[in-house]
Symmetry: C2
Subunit: 305 residues, 2 copies
């Protein structure tokens, strides 16, 4: 379903079945709802996805199509989460992937490290640039590399970990800047909705990891995020969403600052697809409208083509 | 870019570079524009994509992001095609993937047969159900199986080929029904826009192939297409667009008619992603809106959950 949530749901749902749960569920703001609904359909399990009722219609359409029970809660994501925590206590056969199954769910992010290592011929990269929302993905990538190195499956040093946040929701980057590991909660205001967690549970661990590996945690503006989406698309043919734009913009910023050695082998973690956040690229390029004639084309592109 | 056009553009653009072309271009109604713009970006080539000016904004956004030159032509797809044919005559260094490079482009569809064979352990399936627009993809899948069988790379019989069209644009299915291989042009009116070619160049060859392999060519209604999208999503966790809905609905129809032996190994060719045609699933499911409380949930789902 075009985001890294498929990885974490895959691990959580496999455990849900092993542990005898009958219903798959989640609290979500979009990507996770897609992933849970799709995996439940593929596994033939019943599912419930809980979302804030003001969620964009396109995210609801891409979730409901799988035949899940879409529950739109009149409240914000915190309200949704609270309700899910209560429900998980009352419905013993329900696996909320990011509530009562969260430990398994979180470990699913380690597969990113495994796959990076595999694609690099079972070696580690010098640096990984990855986004930070709750901080779980960021820290679990580090854990994945560490465990595979300890097992002898990967050779090379532990990679430098560089974290990426949006200025409009950057409690971890702010704490990093202030030289503390205490992340003060913020009220999110950014186009990077999938990274907009104002009170990140794993923020302190993300800071520890960045520090221990010689990395840092940066924040970029919404304009830089939009430019990051364009930069990645224009240079690689990969269209990412706002989270990937945040990560790409952070890499660009580090490169401009000279913080990255030109010889470093850097992996940029792109966690979602641009088709999910199309609004972010509106107005970022010009469309040439012409009449259907050769001369009209030549006039419009005189001197260019 | 989430449609099979990536395959045909990949082959055409590789040839474009071998042949010394400098600019990648196409006439497109959406998916092809995405693929050409992305591949050109990945290859570092300049590109021009020509589209009808009434194309949906989301398709334009997902094309322009790659830094291509988006040329919106005031006219229909036929007008766009005509202009591109003229331009290809005047710009010798331009590779229009589906005009002057069409032979290479068309061969790209054979990779579908190669990959199906590989995934089935280098054997052929009993039947392939695939959509028909121009008829090129359908016939080239047949060609791919035939060539790999002749080369000894695949074992098994040539698969039965079943073609799928939308009733609102079904010149090939109508010819099949009438027992002729003459496809009379039609004016398309269907939600399956990517299959809406009223005058399919390879229609007669598609009919020949269906006949030679014991298959058929069917047409399904827009409602059946919507139901096909839902059926695939609910049973497999795969969200396809209207073209895939057409193919799925055709398979369902053949199964209901008893035209498929229960022991057959059938491959359904899904050519595009549901995120590209979200409108088709609007209204196809219920969203439950509740207050953020346990009791509100229990009331809404009394007796269900």
């Amino acid at each position: 379903t075009h985001s890294f949530k498929d990885r974490v749901v895959s691990v959580a749902s496999a455990c849900a079945r092993d542990l005898g749960f009958e219903v798959l569920a989640c609290a979500s703001t979009g990507n996770l709802a897609n992933a849970v609904a799709a995996q439940a359909a593929a596994l033939g399990m019943q599912s419930f996805v809980f979302i804030p009722s003001d969620l964009e219609e396109q995210k609801i359409l891409a979730t409901g199509v799988y035949g899940t029970n879409v529950v739109a809660v009149n409240g914000n994501y915190d309200d949704v989460n609270r309700l899910c925590t209560e429900l998980s206590g009352e419905h013993e056969s329900w696996a909320f992937v990011n509530v009562n199954l969260r430990p398994y769910y979180a470990e699913g992010s380690k597969t990113l490290a495994y796959e990076i290592g595999e694609q690099l011929g079972w070696t580690t990269p010098d640096r990984v640039v990855a986004p930070i929302a709750s901080g779980s993905l960021f820290t679990k990538i580090g854990k994945g590399f560490r465990e595979f190195r300890e097992l002898g499956l990967l050779t090379g040093e532990q990679p430098t970990m560089s974290g990426a946040q949006a200025v409009g929701c950057s409690p971890v980057a702010q704490a990093w800047e202030a030289g503390t590991d205490v992340c003060r909660p913020v009220k999110p205001d950014t186009i990077a909705k999938s990274l907009a967690i104002g009170n990140p549970a794993d923020g302190p661990y993300a800071i520890d990891l960045a520090k221990a590996t010689g990395g840092s945690i940066e924040a970029v503006t919404d304009d830089e995020i939009r430019a990051g989406i364009r930069l990645l698309a224009e240079t690689t043919g990969i269209f990412t969403g706002t989270a990937g734009g945040t990560t790409t913009a952070t890499l660009a910023k580090l490169a401009e600052q000279g913080a990255i050695d030109p010889d470093e082998r850097v992996v940029l973690v792109i966690t979602g697809d641009g088709l999910k956040t199309l609004d972010a690229v509106r107005g970022s390029f010009e469309t040439h409208v012409i009449e259907p004639s050769y001369s009209a084309f030549e006039r419009e592109f005189a001197g260019v083509a």
